[in-house]
Symmetry: C2
Subunit: 172 residues, 2 copies
DNA sequence: CGACACATGTAACACGTTACATGATTTG
DNA sequence: CAAATCATGTAACGTGTTACATGTGTCG
């Protein structure tokens, strides 16, 4: 998040509200879960870390803006971020897997039921995402991002099939 | 994490070291990034929240064990966790997407280069995971989890191709 | 007049990560 | 004798989440 904001500021100085709007625009329908204060908190942390500087810009009738600009240290960090490959969180559906293992070993729930419920949920989300994708102009950024979501959901659905097979075998 | 430990304790009371070992066994090669103190911190938080109780079990020569057991409130929470579908984090590769957008708009780096670097990285990880999968007994839990990782990595790789096409078009 | 866009924040909290810290016993 | 295994933790930190808090201007 910090890096993202820094990179946006490296393009041109901006104030919090504007950054939030740009983020929402870039993310499209998936930007809905952004938090109100998140951007401002992050900006203040960046400021405290000496990566950006701010100046107030009054504009008469409208509320004042606080325009941020990266410091040299900030620009350096952006460059490093862009050059590094993504650390990329654990690629596996670890959480669900642990739930299934826990359910199986504790005998409090049937893993196959959980898999079924999860499959229904993922199918629902897949439909949502695909519907949202149709609403986006083809070739737009959000459309691309939504395609990424679709691919992942499909991958997870195929994995769920493998899970179902796994625990069905064990049950008998 | 809290829920996972609670569920394991619901099966049978255990001490921290044992839980850690069970987790590592369940996760297989992917359990390597578990932190030493993590389990203990979580257990203490669970205790503070009144979801587990602990009693010390001395065993003469060996260090004492602290055996944890869920409280009724804890068991209730496990039941709820198992019944609920996974909240499942954002299904889209948002982080990388934002990096690409930031790179493109700031002109500090070429998105296509970033995509290429990322592809090399994912291919490397895919090879790692597949090699690890061969070392696991077929049909084991860890093997299943590794298959999940493979499917996701393949999905992300296909998405990278879409990204490359997207920004190659824009460049011309 | 009510809703929405503009514009900014804070405080408390939960959680994972990192790194540090200790000490006995078994095994090669 | 060194290393691995058993066994437990703590302190500090960074970050995201939640919820709260405030105020103006415009448009229908």
């Amino acid at each position: 998040m910090q890096d993202v904001l820094l990179a946006l500021l490296a393009k041109e100085p901006a104030h919090g509200y504007d950054l939030r709007a740009r983020l929402r625009a870039a993310l499209g329908p998936l930007g809905g879960d952004l938090n109100d204060g998140q951007v401002y908190v992050t900006l203040r942390r960046l400021e405290k870390a000496g990566l950006v500087t701010a100046r107030l810009v009054g504009q008469g009738d409208r509320p004042d803006r606080k325009v941020y600009e990266p410091t040299p240290a900030g620009r350096e960090r952006v460059a490093r971020w862009l050059a590094d490959v993504d650390p990329a969180a654990r690629p596996a559906p670890t959480d669900l897997y642990l739930k299934l293992v826990a359910a199986a070993s504790s005998r409090l729930a049937d893993p196959v039921d959980i898999v079924d419920a999860q499959r229904r949920e993922l199918l629902r989300r897949l439909a949502d995402v695909q519907r949202a994708a149709l609403a986006e102009p083809a070739g737009s950024g959000p459309a691309l991002l939504l395609e990424g979501a679709v691919l992942r959901l499909q991958a997870d659905l195929r994995w769920l099939d493998a899970c179902a097979a796994h625990w069905t075998d064990r049950k008998k």
